[in-house]
């Protein structure tokens, strides 16, 4: 009887020590799920979800504070992938999905106020005070944050058109012949 208790107690101590050691040794810094959620988000940093960037939105999703359908740039595909990751229901997107676009500055109208430069979350606008500004299209994420601050309304969003660089082979579609 006493031997049995001793054995069980010994076992408990050994296992407890092992678990305690493991919890210190293999401690995970931060929440790995946030990283995974953030990897799915498109990193436009546009704030259309109501959070100041993709990371805060990922954290809010992780805490259960935010829904998964608040990211318009991510589109329905993003919602789908978030739903798969988190085991939640797929919901229709809150806002309408827009075609991908990049900002364009009409250089004739630009007065060089630098307001758009301050608004750009990814430093994709070059220019200086009282000098013409321009957007580096390769770096622009299409977040539209530079559009409202412009006092002369010289920034427009240009949809990205299909060209030889971004053209994709289409999914093979079988033509269905009409029965006569």
């Amino acid at each position: 009887m006493i031997t049995a208790i001793a054995i069980m107690a010994l076992g408990a101590i050994v296992l407890g020590a092992a678990l305690g050691y493991a919890s210190i040794k293999f401690k995970v810094e931060g929440d790995p799920l946030v990283e995974k959620i953030e990897a799915i988000l498109p990193q436009t940093q546009c704030g259309q979800c109501g959070y100041p960037g993709c990371r805060p939105y990922a954290e809010a999703i992780n805490k259960g504070e935010a829904d998964i359908n608040l990211c318009p740039p991510g589109g329905m595909e993003g919602v789908q992938r978030l739903a798969d990751l988190l085991g939640r229901e797929v919901k229709p997107l809150e806002a309408e999905e827009k075609p991908k676009a990049v900002a364009f500055i009409d250089e004739q109208t630009c007065i060089g106020c630098t307001l758009c430069i301050q608004a750009c979350p990814v430093d994709a606008i070059v220019g200086a005070a009282k000098q013409m500004h321009t957007i580096i299209p390769e770096l622009c994420t299409g977040c539209e944050l530079c559009v409202p601050p412009c006092p002369v309304e010289c920034i427009s969003m240009e949809p990205i058109t299909e060209n030889l660089d971004n053209w994709k082979w289409k999914y093979p579609v079988i033509e269905i012949k009409r029965a006569a």
């Binding site: 953030e38 988000l41 498109p42 990193q43 436009t44 940093q45 960037g53 993709c54 979350p121 990814v122 430093d123 994709a124 770096l139 994420t141 299909e162 060209n163 030889l164 971004n166 053209w167 994709k168 082979w169 289409k170 999914y171 093979p172 079988i174």
Partner: protein
């Protein structure tokens, strides 16, 4: 005799090569217009160097190579540049690309050509010459040739493989090139040999082209070279680079490596020919041999200028009435030309006129029965039926697990599929989706990094500003404390000193001096007031004597009057300005 190896899989479609072999290579007449696309090879898009209205000569540089992996583009004939604008490309998408439109003047006048002696030059200079001459892989992949001519530093160059297999049905342009221009081709191979210094040079030709084998053999003997001309069994796709390397050397290039990692490099025969023209004659690539065959009255090979519109080129062969489309490339890997004014480019080895009898419309696709025929014929030993399944389900991660990027899109699987599934189309779709996602992911990562950097910078700037403000406030406080202390000590001394400047001139008494003395007194008083104002920043005022406090109150009162005055003045100035603005 060299021992040959085998590659797995492959098919034997009807070759259909004899039709276009009856006549020698013809020189295509000058077309009425040329549309030379600037982006004709893999790599950076060349920058246009000409403007509308400019006269150009044949071989004149019109697009400068952009970056090292990029190749120059030249005017195909002499004439006038009509436009530098978007024109439909020889591409399955039917999209436009920046092209130079040239109206030929009929003179076909060459620009100055400077041959070089490649043996006496630095290898680097020879590579540069090939880049400037626009020499690219003419087998179909159009990779800039100079980029492949640097020997690996770590792996010794064992074999140089020259690809004359030409395994696709219908195409005969390399066959006729080897028959008619064997010597120059071999000399071009010599240039590659000199640059790469391989131990052996192997020229592989399918055994259905005995004339080409004989011609090259004769040229090799004549030039006293030690190249081996080898007939390889006819079996599609023996002309794939990895397949030919396997057949000739027995080396199998692993999926993660390139052939250069195994000490093997591979070039097409037509590339060797153009390289020789560029080196020995200073001629850039402005034309190429194109097979015109299929549903035409006169199938033949033509030396056609790059940029010739398809409509003018096919007229040379007189297409039959029931022609319903034109394929660029072979029937296995080619694509339908999007429009009749799409131009011939460096990648155009063959144009096949199609007709309902030649290429009957495909019967509808049936479900996959998993018979495994596709896996048997795949030269890369992939499992097309699995790839098909995952590509169809948009499960791109799985397609990569099944090595979709090893697929060379040779079309063997589609060729044998009893359910007539367009397998290659599914694979192309999956590949371009994966590439697009990869690009998007990279862009997102970059955006994230930039965003984090900007946030960090904003925070740092804020912290720096706060620190600066705190420092300034502290300095101000210290200064004021010091001044207050000085002010406390000063009044007594100042009271005696302040009288002297006014008193001294007054003692002099002449009337003229009195005026000056008054002015001096006023100046001194103002000076004093200024000093006092500066000194009397009201802090540490608790321990002052009543007299000092009175003084401070006086000064403050004076200052207030002055301030109201300046404000008043400013207001007047403001109203005046606005009035003038309104005017």
């Amino acid at each position: 005799m060299l021992q040959l190896f085998k590659f797995k899989g492959g098919v034997k479609p009807q070759t259909n090569k004899t039709q276009s072999l009856a006549e020698p290579i013809g020189v295509a007449p000058l077309p009425s217009r040329l549309f030379v696309p600037l982006h004709q090879s893999i790599g950076g898009t060349p920058r246009p160097l000409v403007e509308p209205g400019e006269r150009v000569l044949k071989g004149q540089l019109i697009g400068a190579a952009d970056g090292w992996i990029s190749s120059a583009v030249h005017a195909s004939t002499s004439g006038t540049v009509r436009a530098v604008a978007e024109h439909i490309a020889a591409h399955p998408s039917g999209l436009a690309t920046l092209s130079v439109e040239i109206e030929p003047d009929g003179l076909d006048e060459w620009t100055e050509r400077t041959p070089i002696d490649h043996g006496a030059m630095e290898p680097e200079k020879v590579r540069e010459r090939l880049r400037e001459a626009g020499v690219v892989g003419l087998g179909g992949a159009v990779f800039p040739t100079h980029g492949k001519l640097t020997a690996s530093k770590t792996v010794p160059m064992e074999e140089l493989v020259i690809n004359g297999a030409e395994c696709e049905p219908f195409i005969t342009c390399d066959d006729l090139l080897m028959r008619e221009r064997a010597e120059e081709t071999i000399r071009g191979v010599g240039v590659f040999r000199d640059l790469l210094q391989p131990k052996r040079v192997l020229i592989g030709i399918e055994d259905n082209k005995p004339e080409a084998v004989a011609a090259l053999q004769a040229a090799v003997t004549k030039l006293g070279e030690r190249f081996e001309v080898i007939a390889v069994p006819t079996r599609y796709p023996a002309g794939g680079a990895k397949q030919l390397i396997r057949v000739l050397t027995g080396k199998e290039v692993p999926s993660t490596k390139r052939s250069t990692d195994l000490g093997v490099q591979c070039f097409n025969v037509a590339t060797a020919y153009t390289a020789w023209r560029a080196v020995a004659h200073g001629e850039p690539v402005v034309s190429r041999i194109v097979t015109l065959t299929g549903n035409v009255e006169r199938p033949r090979n033509w030396e056609a200028l790059l940029g010739t519109p398809l409509s003018e080129f096919v007229a040379l062969g007189a297409p039959k009435a029931d022609t319903n489309g034109y394929l660029m490339g072979g029937p296995m890997m080619g694509f339908e030309m999007p429009a009749m004014d799409a131009p011939l480019v460096k990648a155009t080895n063959c144009i096949i006129a199609g007709s309902p009898t030649l290429f009957p419309p495909k019967a509808p696709e049936m479900p996959c029965i998993r018979c495994g025929e596709c896996a048997k014929v795949c030269p890369h030993e992939l499992q097309p039926f699995e790839l098909y399944w995952f590509a169809r389900a948009h499960n791109f991660g799985k397609t990569q697990e099944y090595h979709i990027f090893d697929c060379i899109e040779c079309g063997c699987c589609s060729f044998v599929c009893p359910s007539r599934i367009p397998l290659v189309q599914y694979f192309r779709f999956a590949k371009s989706e994966i590439w697009a996602r990869e690009k998007e992911k990279n862009a997102a990562d970059q955006a994230k990094a930039r965003f984090e950097w900007k946030t960090a910078r904003d925070e740092r700037e804020k912290a720096e500003k706060a620190e600066k403000l705190a420092k300034a406030a502290a300095a101000q406080a210290a200064k004021k404390a010091a001044e207050a202390a000085a002010a406390a000590a000063a009044p007594a001394a100042e009271a005696s000193a302040s009288d002297t400047p006014a008193a001294a001139p007054a003692a002099g008494s002449p009337a003229l001096d009195a005026e000056a003395a008054k002015k001096a007194a006023i100046a001194a008083a103002m000076e004093r007031a200024r000093a006092q104002r500066e000194a009397a920043a009201p802090k540490n005022t608790e321990q002052l004597t009543p007299a000092q406090q009175r003084e401070i109150a006086d000064i403050d009162a004076r200052r207030r009057i002055m301030e109201t005055q300046t404000a008043f003045n400013a207001e007047i100035a403001e109203t005046q300005r606005t009035q003038s603005d309104e005017k």
